[in-house]
């Protein structure tokens, strides 16, 4: 059987065990509101082709999404979840033009937001719509990917993804084009 043969060969050939370097613990986990991080996040987000709006608190956020994205499928509202269950025909999901999701945190160093299965009922949702709107609590912006993975480490779900800006490709002569397969436009609403 392949498995045993592979493992046996590895055992015969591997070197003496070398130590695993300690994980990076010198980063400060920022829990407090930090305007430096927010500004950095906004700047980088634009650099990666994303867009942002700022509103003041959840009430304003709800009013804002109602007013500007009334036709969108807003997955911050639980009642819409049962319309797009995991076994929902993909053709139905493919009709969606704009999807709104709550995201868990943002990363200042690369403009990425983290979203996992607890934020949507069907895994295609963050990818298939033409436009992706994500709502991010501005207190949940952290500095870098080390902090990001410390956060994720204890709550791994079946699927989770970092999304940084809109889908892009540069496969034709290195010309940057947005909207290769995923969202053509990604907007973060900071609340």
């Amino acid at each position: 059987m392949g498995r045993d043969k592979i493992l046996q060969t590895i055992r015969e050939n591997k070197t003496k065990v070398t130590p695993l370097p300690k994980t990076i613990t010198d980063t400060n986990l920022k829990e407090k509101f930090d305007s430096g991080l927010i500004n950095r996040f906004k700047e980088i987000l634009q650099h990666v082709g994303g867009d942002y709006f700022e509103v003041n608190g959840t009430e304003e956020l709800n009013a804002f999404t109602e007013r500007h994205f009334s036709g969108a499928a807003n997955f911050r509202k639980k009642e819409i979840w049962k319309r797009y269950p995991p076994d929902c025909p993909k053709e139905n999901i493919a009709q969606l033009k704009t999807v709104i999701l709550e995201v868990q945190f943002g990363v200042a160093e690369n403009g990425a937001v983290w979203v996992d299965e607890s934020n949507f009922p069907n895994r295609l949702l963050p990818f298939i719509a033409e436009e992706l709107i994500v709502c991010l609590d501005s207190k949940q912006i952290i500095s870098d990917m080390h902090e990001a993975y410390f956060r994720i480490a204890n709550k791994v779900t079946g699927f989770g993804v970092f999304i940084s800006g809109p889908s892009k490709t540069a496969d034709i002569e290195q010309n940057l084009v947005f909207g290769a397969h995923g969202a053509k436009k990604t907007t973060v609403i900071l609340y």
Binding site: G2, R3, K5, I6, L7, T9, I10, N13, K14, T15, K16, V17, T18, P19, L20, P21, T23, I24, I44, V48, P86, A94, A112, D116, R123, L124, P126, F127, I128, D144, M145, H146, E147, A148, Y149, F150, A153, V156, T157, G158, F159, G160, V161, F162, I163, S164, G165, S167, K168, T169, A170, D171, I172, E173, Q174, N175, V177, A180, H181, G182
Partner: protein, 458 residues
């Protein structure tokens, strides 16, 4: 001349095109530099990444077992393939068991290495590569010329003509946005029809049984989430110990590869979607044997960013196809001889040994040292061309005998200066092909030193 240099010669015939290729890749290299310099702890990250990989390789069997255990617990099915043939058969069996005939695939150098597409196609399976660059080269029926930018060798005019034929786009419209939209619509249909989706794997986390896939286009996710069956294919060396180790590698990967801060999508697949099936195929195909070669061990740390290609003066001026190996460029030249020693024995010589590849490598692989080592090993195995072998033998003799060296130096200075150009640049003078010999000095260094210091009593 070697196979590589012949093909490089072909590539360089169109000077304008060769210059464009060189410049385009250099721009990517410059973007990478900008990114690296903006991270103050960059060198520490590289060191850490290299050490994590070193540790993981030294405990690879245990980490693979842990990974398998976790993946099974998450509801994934794990398969092991000792070689390419086993791998292809396993993937085919999964497709077959699901009565599927339409498969979408996102980028995976492993499937290129194993020839999966061809195998599945001969079994009547329709395989669609969904990365834009990969779809382009699939239409053209050619292999990728770069591991991150598979169609970097093509001009937009060529792609426009190709899409006009294959996707009925307007003739003569080579606007990249227009062509990308045409591909988006074409591939959207393929995603919705596919019954099975195949992806490669960037990192596999032992601690949680998670596989991580990085794309800019979102094609891995469109495939894996739309199809009821998802298959992730990984080499055994893709393992890393824990989730927090990803922080190091994700920070390094996109910055090194394309000069991005992170790819648009960094997807973490841990378990199947509700009602779906998730398969992970772990492939050896020579890697466990490679572990025994201590002098070459570091090559197994590679995270396939392609930075060594973008910086390589030989790659930039000869193109990925000139290497004739699945993975081109400096890293390909040290990997290929392990599995294809006879057909790739020319590759370690396709380098200037400038060391730039090692300098940019995010996991600090000693690429140029390994290239140099391969040259010696290949010479010992008598796997270099007879011309090179004899030239080296003769040079070795001359260089070890001072008097003979002086005498021949004198002769050479006279000959190069006085003999007709045509006679010197004869067909045996391979070095002189496309290169001018330097202007000959009047005297040797020894003569100059003697005259300047000893005669003057200095």
């Amino acid at each position: 001349m070697t196979k590589h240099s012949c093909k490089a010669g072909q590539f360089l015939k169109n000077e304008q095109y060769a210059a464009w290729h060189d410049e385009t890749l250099w721009i990517v290299r410059e973007k990478r530099d900008k990114m690296a310099r903006a991270v103050p702890e960059w060198e520490k990250l590289r060191e850490r990444a290299s050490k994590i990989k070193e540790h993981t390789l030294s405990e690879l069997d245990n980490y693979l077992i842990e990974f398998e255990k976790q993946a099974l617990k998450n509801g994934a099915q794990v398969h092991w393939a000792a070689d390419a043939a086993q791998f292809n058969q396993i993937v085919y069996n999964i497709i077959n068991e699901n009565n599927a005939s339409k498969v979408v695939k996102s980028k995976s150098m492993l499937t290129e290495e194993c020839g999966l597409n061809l195998f599945l196609e001969t079994k009547g399976i329709e395989v669609t590569d969904t990365d834009l660059g990969e779809r382009i080269i699939q239409f053209r029926n050619e292999p990728p010329s770069h591991i991150v930018m598979p169609a970097i060798h093509l001009k937009k005019e060529e792609i426009s003509e190709l899409f006009h034929q294959k996707l009925q786009t307007e003739e003569g419209n080579f606007d990249p946005a227009y062509l990308t939209t045409a591909a988006r619509l074409h591939l959207r249909q393929k995603f919705l029809e596919a019954e099975v989706a195949i992806t490669g794997v960037n990192f596999a986390v032992a601690e949680t049984g998670t596989v991580v896939v990085c794309t800019n286009e979102g094609n891995a996710d469109m495939g894996a989430h739309a199809a009821p069956v998802q298959i992730h294919c990984m080499g055994i060396e893709k393992i890393i110990p824990g989730i927090v180790d990803l922080g190091v590698f994700i920070r390094l990967l996109a910055r090194s590869a394309t000069g991005q801060l992170i790819t648009t999508y960094t997807s973490h697949y841990t378990g199947p979607k509700p009602g779906g099936h998730m398969h992970i195929v772990i492939v050896d195909n020579g890697r466990s044997e490679h572990l025994a070669k201590k002098d070459y061990l570091n090559a197994l740390k590679c995270i396939r960013c392609g930075a060594c290609m973008n910086t390589c003066p030989v790659y930039r001026r000869s193109g990925g196809h000139s290497y004739g190996s699945v993975i081109p460029g400096p890293i390909g030249s040290i990997l290929a001889p392990h599995s294809q020693i006879k057909t790739s024995s020319d590759l370690p010589f396709a380098s200037s040994l400038c060391g730039s590849c090692s300098d940019v490598c995010p996991v600090k692989i000693d690429i140029h040292d390994q290239l140099y080592r391969w040259r010696q090993d290949l010479s010992e195995m008598k796997l270099v061309s007879p011309g090179k072998r004899y030239a080296m033998k003769i040079a070795g003799k001359i260089l070890s005998k001072s008097k003979m060296y002086d005498c021949l130096g004198k002769t050479a200075r006279y000959v190069i200066k006085n003999l007709p150009h045509k006679l010197i640049y004869n067909r045996f003078n391979i070095w002189g092909k496309g290169r001018e010999l330097p202007e000959v000095p009047k005297e040797s260094f020894k003569q100059w030193y003697k005259r300047t210091y000893q005669e003057k009593g200095g």
